[in-house]
Symmetry: C2
Subunit: 198 residues, 2 copies
């Protein structure tokens, strides 16, 4: 790659994308430079703006460029329902797959004492405040069905129990040990409908 150090840098920078190795990164760089400069310029512009402006919603902790995200700002949603998920991508998956009309709370991870991730690191202090507001009647636990996801769900159910808020856990069809984000729409929708008291 001796002809251009900037090209080499671009190939290297592209490798920050998940699943992109040296060969794929090189193909991407050449494709943009030879066939889609406009696309590359737009990507650079949007990427810079996104990295700088997208932060976490102060209410639900999902990713947004606003202080309070559009979903939290929507007064037409059902304030008696709050769905707890691990990742912002889970919100997208649930919105696309189900008819759920309540609000969300995004942990941004799961309890993992071995990695030093405790309740405050996944925003449970803020979730408690949210429950203390008094409008949530059902807390839907949609953490991933992994060991740590289950532990997190259990921990949160106790926070809810203390406040007489009922909890449910999405159920049927989500294969154990998998990541919620990659489940197909039908399974996810079914799991939502079939949620049971936790």
């Amino acid at each position: 790659m001796s002809e251009s150090s900037l090209l080499k840098e671009l190939v290297d920078a592209l490798r920050c994308l998940p699943g992109v190795g040296a060969r794929t990164a090189q193909r991407m760089a050449f494709h943009l430079l030879e066939h889609d400069r406009q696309g590359g310029e737009r990507l650079a512009r949007v990427m810079a703006a996104a990295m700088q402006n997208i932060q976490h919603c102060e209410r639900c902790r999902t990713l947004t460029e606003q202080t309070i995200c559009r979903l939290c700002s929507n007064p037409a949603r059902d304030a008696s329902l709050l769905c707890v998920v691990e990742h912002p991508s889970d919100v997208v998956a649930i919105e696309q797959a189900t008819a759920y009309r309540g609000y969300y709370f995004v942990l941004g991870g799961r309890l993992s004492p071995l990695d030093g991730i405790g309740p405050d690191d996944i925003g449970l202090d803020r979730l408690e405040q949210r429950l203390d507001e008094g409008s949530v009647q059902e807390l839907i636990l949609a953490t991933n069905p992994t060991v740590e996801g289950e532990v997190t769900a259990h921990y949160i159910s106790e926070l809810a129990a203390k406040r007489q808020v009922s909890t449910s856990r999405i159920a049927h069809g989500v294969p154990m040990g998998s990541e919620l984000e990659y489940v197909d729409s039908g399974t996810l929708s079914h799991a939502f409908e079939g949620r049971r008291k936790y």
Copy 2:
């Protein structure tokens, strides 16, 4: 994706990358925003610089941010050898796989009358000037072994013949109908060694 229009825009912008569909683009966007903001910022910066500054070398037409690329500027290469390839990525592949020490000429495509791509569109006017300079003694035709690549090689061999410049064609081991860029190093190196008079 109703929580953020900028996130939606980022996902959309990422789809300019070859082989990246909606799902992969979404995974990439979330990965950068949640786990690698620095990587995303660097990618944005390098991408912008690359799209703006990388142009074609005035001598060999490969991609470079300099007027004359590093390879063309290297006086230690053998000026009696000139290798003609279709794409800048072919130069990288040959440099990595072979012991070739001559110079290159990058067509940026191949003759394709049906698509309206004629000799001047692939820089053959400039290649003729290059041959007229008189130092090239062997022109190595390394266009892809496709129908259009062969037609292009044949056309160029006639330009060389008019000037008493001998031509060779890389040979053994490159599977017909494939793209030179994706051939493994050993095969490509072998093909280079085994080139025959065209």
